[in-house]
């Protein structure tokens, strides 16, 4: 015989339910409820790949609303109680966070994760001449310093984004993981071959602080995804080009892949933002003003001896041939500028007539 529920820990509804259970009566409402998706069978479009977010989105509730009225963590498309607590989200409109490629990029990111411990052939590192090792380590130090901004920045905004746009939040989680791995792999490179951690610069930290403390997500996203990570993508490509051994080749190749996804999201987010902003002209003008100021940092970055000289030493094959190595720096300057302007143009913000980034390196 079960005694009646008298413990004050339970409220009246819970007591009633417990008493029902003790009489052998179950609620079973959840079992009778056929709303909203009972009977849905999402199928993989490509069975070799598996069941993707695109597949389930095609089956049900795949299209987020432009301005959901809920502020809850309940999954998009689920049935939920009327009195769910408000999570306090401040990013509740799709144009503030969305990009049309974010669902595919999330799947790509999860499929192409790698391990800095397992997937890098650390045994292929060989002793290098001191100037080359120092150059590698100066760049590795810089990258270990700057990469984590692309984890800290989205982490700061993630909780403020309405969970209705869960794909964006999930993608940004993959980005944070990518950047943790980049910090890891460059710290490992610096400490694995005799060079060690080297010099970090005030100007770099100032740029990182600008990103971290950007007043809005789209402004920070532009600074980080398009401007910052666009530059870093070219540094990664340059790093692969200048690699002294298979270890560095693999590090840079794998980092390139991750970084290109982030740049791709940022570019398409800016495009979506500008196309769907209720006052497009005003939004465009604000982004141009931001870019006018932010771009002034690029010449500073590319005239910094702690950044360009290690690249030139690697390109030239040693400090004796640093002059020849400056060709690589000029090449990276030109590529960075052109690709940055192309991404802005693709996003609907043509900067070609407005940019003050010099077309050619001043050296």
């Amino acid at each position: 015989m079960v005694s009646p529920v008298t413990d004050t820990i339970y409220n009246s509804d819970q007591k009633e339910y417990i008493e029902g259970l003790n009489r052998g009566t179950f609620d079973l409402q959840w079992l009778k409820d056929e709303r909203p998706t009972f009977g849905v069978h999402a199928k993989p479009r490509n069975p070799k790949r598996g069941l993707t977010l695109q597949d389930i989105n095609a089956a049900f509730a795949g299209e987020p609303e432009d301005a959901p009225t809920t502020r809850v963590m309940a999954p998009r498309g689920a049935v939920y109680d009327d009195d769910l607590p408000d999570m306090g989200y401040t990013y509740n409109e799709k144009y503030l966070v969305w990009s049309d490629n974010v669902v595919a990029l999330y799947e790509e990111a999860t499929a192409r994760q790698w391990s800095a411990t397992r997937d890098i052939p650390w045994d292929k590192l060989k002793k290098l001449p001191e100037d080359i090792e120092r150059a590698e380590c100066q760049i590795a130090t810089l990258l270990s310093e700057i990469e984590m901004i692309a984890a800290d920045f989205p982490a700061k905004w993630l909780w403020q984004m309405n969970q209705h746009f869960h794909e964006v939040k999930m993608f940004l989680c993959t980005q944070a993981m990518d950047e943790a791995r980049h910090l890891e792999v460059f710290r490992k490179r610096a400490l694995a071959n005799g060079g060690g951690l080297m010099h970090c610069l005030t100007g770099t930290e100032q740029f990182l602080k600008t990103i971290l403390h950007a007043p809005t997500y789209v402004q920070g996203s532009f600074l980080m995804h398009i401007l910052g990570e666009g530059i870093v993508l070219d540094i990664f490509r340059g790093g692969e080009f200048l690699a002294q051994n298979e270890t560095e080749k693999e590090i840079y190749r794998l980092c390139m892949q991750d970084e290109a996804r982030h740049v791709s999201y940022g570019t398409m987010h800016l495009k979506y933002y500008l196309e769907n902003h209720p006052d497009r002209e005003k939004a465009l003008a604000e982004m141009h003003t931001l870019a006018d100021v932010a771009e002034l940092g690029i010449p500073g970055f590319l005239t910094n001896p702690f950044i360009i000289e290690p690249l030139a030493v690697l390109m030239g094959g040693g400090v004796k041939h640093i002059d020849q190595g400056m060709d690589a720096v000029r090449l990276i300057w030109g590529r960075m500028r052109e690709e940055y302007l192309s991404r802005c143009e693709l996003a609907g913000m043509d900067r070609r007539a407005r940019t003050r980034i010099p077309a050619e390196a001043p050296y």
Partner: protein
């Protein structure tokens, strides 16, 4: 197997199938990759272009096309001699050495270049570079003839 032909690229596709564990580990790849061999040095009278479609863990179809710029996300373009040197290097070293990887060859814009009508599609080259490199490194297992 003669390079450049559809059959040669299909032979790479078969190598990738044999090496499927590696490609699965690198991850799913969705890309339309153009390979253009410029008409020079090998007696070709016209450029030859091949569309490699990656919609799985590796390439799953190859076709020779005329309008490669429209069909592909990006096009890797080089003269016959550059492709030959890259393939010979891969064969000799069991994979591209430091100065014959795809990114190494295209980074300065010579001797190979990547072209695309859209920066986002140009970036597809970077997004899946490990898969593309592994795919071409499969050439080490293909007996290649280079006669035009």
């Amino acid at each position: 197997m003669k390079f450049p032909t559809v059959e040669w690229f299909e032979a790479l596709e078969k190598q990738a199938e044999k090496n499927s564990d590696t490609f699965r580990r690198l991850g799913f790849c969705e890309a339309a990759v153009g390979v253009k061999v410029l008409a020079a040095e090998n007696g070709q009278t016209r450029d030859r272009s091949f569309l490699l479609t990656f919609n799985s863990y590796s390439c799953n179809s190859v076709e020779e096309v005329d309008n490669i710029e429209q069909a592909a996300d990006f096009v890797m373009e080089a003269n016959f001699g550059t492709w030959k040197e890259m393939i010979e290097n891969i064969t000799a070293n069991g994979g591209a050495d430091l100065s014959h990887t795809l990114n190494y060859l295209v980074m300065p814009g010579v001797p190979m270049k990547v072209t695309s009508h859209d920066q986002l599609k140009d970036d597809v080259f970077s997004r899946f570079i490990s898969t593309f490199q592994e795919f071409f490194d499969g050439a080490q297992h293909v007996e290649t003839e280079f006669s035009g």
